[in-house]
Each structure stands twice: as structure tokens, then as C-alpha cells.
């Protein structure tokens, strides 16, 4: 029953055991046991709820100016009696409510950007790894070349020419971030293609499309999800930088990066206008990184048993990646 017995058992039996043991419940209890990852996951969940339900959940209207409540510090009460958890800005708008609405923009750019670049990159990477040849050569040259170029600089230039905005940001992120997915998808495809199950699928006459969609892709999901999580964090940070420089999200829409840029004017009198949105970005990116680290540990076949079996003694499993 112990992990040691399982790892010494023959390969086939072991795989069977593992598949049976890894149910949603096992993942959940493993998540509960890792306190840091658990807190991160809860934070991200709350953030998603706050972003999605900002219209109903926000205590104040994020765009409603209230001149009697200008520059209220965090945990302060305005002259009209309104309590402001994170304070108010130069127009008396509630910062907490604005952060919730900003979360919607920042999170959707991160998510959509990662989804679009992921789909583009994974498609190209799998095709390159599956069919090899000239396609693979050209694609990998392009990946190496693009990875060597400064992406923030190029993003700025393209946005300068085509104009800023939500849709253009997604377009830029797709153009400049597909390479990481392509690189990983290709190398995973190359590894799995050597496997017996792909040969078997081919031997019984499976078409290329069927092999890719039903055999190859499902086996590549977990590392790609880890990468996807990390990319969301990267994109949220990039969006913040571009919006800060004035080439990202445009008013009246507001994202966390744009809020920092606006708050900068009042840096000597109202520090919270700069600190709070940046802290939101920091915590979100941190939570995404921590969850990704946990997901990497738990989906790694070598480490997974340490997590999915009930703990023996007090020692927490230690994830030592790299």
C-alpha cells in the first residue's frame, strides 16, 4: 500500500494503480495539504468571483465620482459616512470597487491572451513534432529567432502603429507569446511519438488526426497546463507594463496597470493609489506561480506519489523542482 511498494511494482500494474488512485478527490486532498498552494488557489478563486461578479459585489459604483470623498485613506470613512476599505482616488471613487472591475480587464486579458497564444503555439508545435521535415525546421528557426528579440519593445512598436486597446493587446500577445507553447508542444510530441501506444494506434489504422487528438494531446495536457498558468501571470505583468506606458488598455476601461499609471500623479499625497493596484498584480502573479509550482509537482510522475498518498508522519512533501 505504501508508495515504496507501488514504485517497485512492475510498470504496467503501477500505471494502472496510479490511474485508479488519481481521482479528483485525491487532487483536492493533496491541495488541502499544501497550505501555500491551497491559499493561492482560494485567492485565485475569490479573485475570479470578484472579477466576474464585480457588478453585483462591488460596494460602490467604480465610475461614480464623489467629491465629498476624495483621497480617503485605506480603512477611512468619507465625510458622507461611506466606509472605504482601500480608500478613494482623486475623484472620490472607491478604490476597492475599482480594483474589482480592473480585475475583470486584467484577468480576461491574461486568460484570453494565454488561450489564444496557447492554441496557436500548441497547434504549430504538435504539427511540427508530428510531421517533422521542413515545417519543423522553419518553425523552430522562427521560434528561436522570435525568442531572441525583445518582445516588450516589439509589442510597443506594433501597438504604436495599430493603436492600443483590448483587442489589439490580445493580438499582440498571441503574436509574441506562441513560441513558448510551440517549443514545449513540439518536444512533448517528439517524446510521446516514440511510445508504444502511438505505434499501436497507428498499427490498428488510426488516422493522423485521430492519433493527435485522442492519443497525443490528452497525454500532453498536464505540462501544458502548468505552462499556461505561468503564461497568464506573464501576460498580466506585460499588460500592466504596456498600460502603464499608455499603450495598453485605454480609458474608460481600466486595468490594474492603468490604475498605477493614474495614481502616479498623486504619489506624494495618496500612496495607496499606487500601492494597492500593484499589490493586486503582485498577489495574483504570485498565486499563479505558486499554483503552477504545485501543479508541476503533482503532475510529475516521479513526485506525484508523495502528494497523492496520505502523509506519513509530520514531514510535508518538499517540492524541489529545477
Amino acid at each position: 500500500m505504501s508508495a515504496v511498494d507501488a514504485t517497485t511494482a512492475p510498470q504496467v500494474e503501477e500505471d494502472h494503480d496510479r490511474a485508479a488512485a488519481i481521482t479528483g478527490r485525491a487532487y483536492l486532498s493533496a491541495l488541502m495539504r499544501d497550505r501555500v498552494a491551497f491559499v493561492s488557489a482560494v485567492f485565485l478563486g475569490l479573485l475570479l468571483i470578484a472579477a466576474a461578479g464585480a457588478d453585483f459585489l462591488a460596494p460602490f459604483d467604480p465610475d461614480k465620482a464623489n467629491l465629498r470623498a476624495r483621497f480617503v485613506p485605506p480603512l477611512g470613512t468619507a465625510r458622507d459616512g461611506g466606509f472605504h476599505l482601500l480608500g478613494t482616488d482623486e475623484l472620490g471613487r472607491d478604490l476597492f470597487s475599482r480594483l474589482m472591475h480592473g480585475a475583470r480587464v486584467s484577468m480576461s486579458i491574461g486568460l484570453l491572451g494565454a488561450i489564444c497564444s496557447g492554441i496557436a503555439g500548441i497547434t504549430l508545435g504538435v504539427l511540427a513534432g508530428f510531421y517533422r521535415g521542413l515545417l519543423e525546421d522553419l518553425l523552430m528557426r522562427a521560434v528561436d529567432g522570435m525568442m531572441a528579440l525583445p518582445s516588450l519593445l516589439i509589442a510597443l512598436f506594433i501597438l504604436f502603429v495599430i493603436g492600443p486597446g483590448f483587442g489589439n493587446l490580445i493580438l499582440i500577445f498571441t503574436l509574441l507569446h506562441w513560441m513558448v507553447f510551440a517549443r514545449m508542444a513540439r518536444s512533448l510530441t517528439l517524446t510521446h511519438q516514440q511510445s508504444t501506444y502511438i505505434t499501436a494506434a497507428r498499427a490498428i489504422g488510426g488516422s493522423d488526426a485521430r492519433i493527435i487528438l485522442t492519443h497525443l494531446l490528452p497525454n500532453m495536457v498536464s505540462p501544458l497546463i502548468v505552462l499556461f498558468t505561468l503564461e497568464i501571470a506573464v501576460l498580466i505583468l506585460s499588460e500592466a507594463s504596456l498600460s502603464f506606458l499608455g499603450f495598453g488598455v485605454q480609458a474608460p476601461q481600466s486595468s490594474w496597470g492603468l490604475m498605477i499609471a493614474r495614481g502616479r500623479e498623486y504619489i506624494s499625497s495618496a500612496w495607496w493609489l499606487v500601492v494597492m493596484p500593484g499589490a493586486a498584480i503582485f498577489l495574483t502573479a504570485l498565486a499563479l506561480n505558486l499554483v503552477a509550482a504545485w501543479a508541476r509537482a503533482i503532475t510529475d510522475p516521479v513526485q506525484r506519489w508523495r502528494w497523492l498518498t496520505p502523509p506519513r508522519g509530520k514531514n510535508q512533501p518538499i517540492d524541489d523542482d529545477e
Binding site: F157, L245, I260, I267, I281, F282
Partner: protein, 323 residues
């Protein structure tokens, strides 16, 4: 073909691709006249500028002229830099050549990026080695926390926080500008955060690998002092991944400097570029992008050169690239 020659030619090709890319985005996807004059300009003004810039010629001819000019170091002239903000200035026949202005700004950026890198690198090596010497100790935890925080923080925000603490609250250091060493402290610290986290993590794991090898036990058994074992014997052999990550971080620094320079009004290439974007000064933007990107490519090439010195095996390996 020798490895280094091939890498050199690859870099040249990459530079060519980049320049062509700038041309395609600026000339074909965008309309330079519209970019420079703005959408409110009259049709006659737009036509006149197109005529002046030679935009009425066939596109391939424009491309050849563009490439030819670049070869001679001619990135065009700016009608905005040093002039008033009137859009009609763009119609003047004479402007300021942009390349000298960009190059003039380079030393400030080098000073900032260099200081940050030296600081981050030396601290990261010490921290990473200490962490590897004492796994699971507080210093090991510290390295983990720093590296996790450094990839999660937005650089320009960190800069603003430092301004709030050290300039606004404590009044110790200037909020921005250029001149004395005090002006350098905050921007350099801001820029150093990310490489510090990334490099120390790599140093730690590379050193952990090295310290478990038999030659280390042999050195210890001979009675070599522990500091010598770690900082001389092991560090030398762990240097390849450390150099790789440092090179990566240096090219990141050059673009990261753009944001930090904007926050601290540090007069480097980055600030010039951001200002020029705001002024819709297309020639200056193109020159700035080409110069910074060329530097990034150059840094990558230099890292590969350093590599072959550190590890002669790479030269022999035909497919050898960076891990």
C-alpha cells in the same frame, strides 16, 4: 562551418529580419504620414509629407532605399525632437538626424543596466552559494522567496514603491533625474530585483548539483578550506548555467530599463523611446528600437562566445546550442 561563425551569421540574419519587420509594420501596416501627423491632419498636409518622405514610390523601391539608408547609418530625421509640438513641423524640409541622438543616450542606459547587473550578479552568486551550502536553512528560504517574488512583481511598481519609501517618506534619495550617485541608487535597485531573483535561483541549483559530485568530496578530504571548495572549485564548474541566465537577464535588463527609466526620468534610450512614442516621432522610434534590439542580439552573441570559452566541448558539438 565553425560554430562561432555560424552564430555570427545567424545574428546578422536576425538583425536583417528585425529591420524588415520594422519596415513592414511601420510602412505597410501603418501609414507613416498618418502616424506622424495624427488623424486630425488635413489631406493636403498628408500628401505633402508623403511626397517629402518618398512614400509615393513603389513599396519595394522604398524598402531598398530604407535598407540602403540603414547601411549608411541613416535612420532618417526627426521633425519633433527639439522642435515645438506643432504637427506642421513635420512638413519642414530639415530635421535632426535621429541616430546620433539615440547613441547619445546609450551611456546612461549602459550605466544603469551595468550597475544593476553587477549588483544583482554579485549578490545573487553569494546568496545562491550560501543557499546551496545550507539547504533548507533560512537563507535557502530567502533565496526561494526572492526568486518567486521577483517573477511576480511589476518592475515599475517596485520603483514607485521605492520612491514612496525612500524619497517621499524618508526624503533620503531623489525621486528621479540624473547626475550624482544618489540618482542612480533607486533605479538600479529597481532594475536589479528581477535578475537577482532569477540568477540566485540558478546559482543555487547549479551549486547543489556541483557540491554533490565526487571531486568536491576529494577536495574536502584533502583539507581544502570550505570557502575555497565552494567559491573556487564548485563555482567554476557551475559557471555555464550561471553565464547563460546572466546573459538572458542582461538582454532583459536592456528592455526593462525602458520602464524603469520612465519611472525615474533617467535620460537613457528607453526614456527617449517612450517620449518619442508619445510625440509620434516615427524615425526616432524606429532608430531606438533597432539600436536596442541590435544590442540584445549582440549580448546573446557575446554570451555564446563566453560559452565556448567556458566549455570547449560546445564548439565540437555541431548541433550544440544553449540549453
Amino acid at each position: 562551418m565553425p560554430y562561432l561563425l555560424r552564430r555570427f551569421l545567424q545574428s546578422l540574419l536576425l538583425l536583417f529580419v528585425l529591420v524588415s519587420f520594422v519596415f513592414v509594420i511601420g510602412r505597410i501596416i501603418g501609414d507613416p504620414a498618418l502616424i506622424m501627423l495624427g488623424t486630425s491632419a488635413s489631406e493636403t498636409a498628408l500628401d505633402q509629407l508623403r511626397e517629402n518622405l518618398g512614400l509615393n514610390q513603389p513599396i519595394w523601391q522604398q524598402y531598398l532605399v530604407f535598407l540602403g539608408d540603414l547601411m549608411q547609418g541613416d535612420f532618417g530625421v526627426s521633425f519633433r525632437y527639439g522642435f515645438s509640438m506643432m504637427p506642421s513641423d513635420a512638413l519642414r524640409s530639415e530635421g535632426t538626424p535621429v541616430l546620433p541622438i539615440v547613441l547619445e543616450r546609450l551611456p546612461a542606459t549602459f550605466l544603469l543596466a551595468g550597475t544593476s547587473l553587477v549588483f544583482a550578479f554579485s549578490l545573487a552568486v553569494v546568496l545562491g552559494c550560501l543557499a546551496a551550502m545550507h539547504p533548507r536553512s533560512w537563507i535557502d528560504n530567502l533565496v526561494n522567496v526572492i526568486s518567486l517574488a521577483s517573477v511576480s512583481v511589476v518592475q515599475f511598481w517596485l520603483g514607485l514603491i521605492l520612491i514612496i519609501v525612500f524619497s517621499v517618506q524618508l526624503g533620503l534619495l531623489p525621486t528621479g533625474g540624473f547626475g550624482s550617485w544618489q540618482h542612480l541608487v533607486l533605479p538600479a535597485l529597481t532594475l536589479a530585483a528581477r535578475p537577482l531573483g532569477r540568477i540566485s535561483q540558478v546559482v543555487r541549483s547549479a551549486m547543489l548539483d556541483e557540491l554533490s559530485k565526487p571531486y568536491i568530496s576529494a577536495a574536502r578530504a584533502k583539507g581544502v578550506p570550505e570557502w575555497r571548495v565552494v567559491f573556487v572549485h564548485a563555482l567554476k564548474n557551475a559557471s555555464i548555467p550561471i553565464v547563460t541566465i546572466t546573459g538572458d537577464e542582461l538582454s532583459q535588463l536592456l528592455t526593462g530599463a525602458m520602464l524603469v527609466e520612465t519611472v525615474f526620468a533617467w535620460p537613457g534610450v528607453g526614456l527617449l523611446l517612450i517620449d518619442s512614442l508619445g510625440r509620434r516621432d516615427l524615425p526616432m522610434v524606429q532608430a531606438g528600437i533597432c539600436v536596442v534590439a541590435a544590442l540584445v542580439i549582440l549580448v546573446n552573441l557575446a554570451v555564446d562566445f563566453a560559452y565556448t570559452v567556458l566549455n570547449p566541448r560546445i564548439q565540437m558539438d555541431n548541433r550544440g546550442g544553449r540549453a
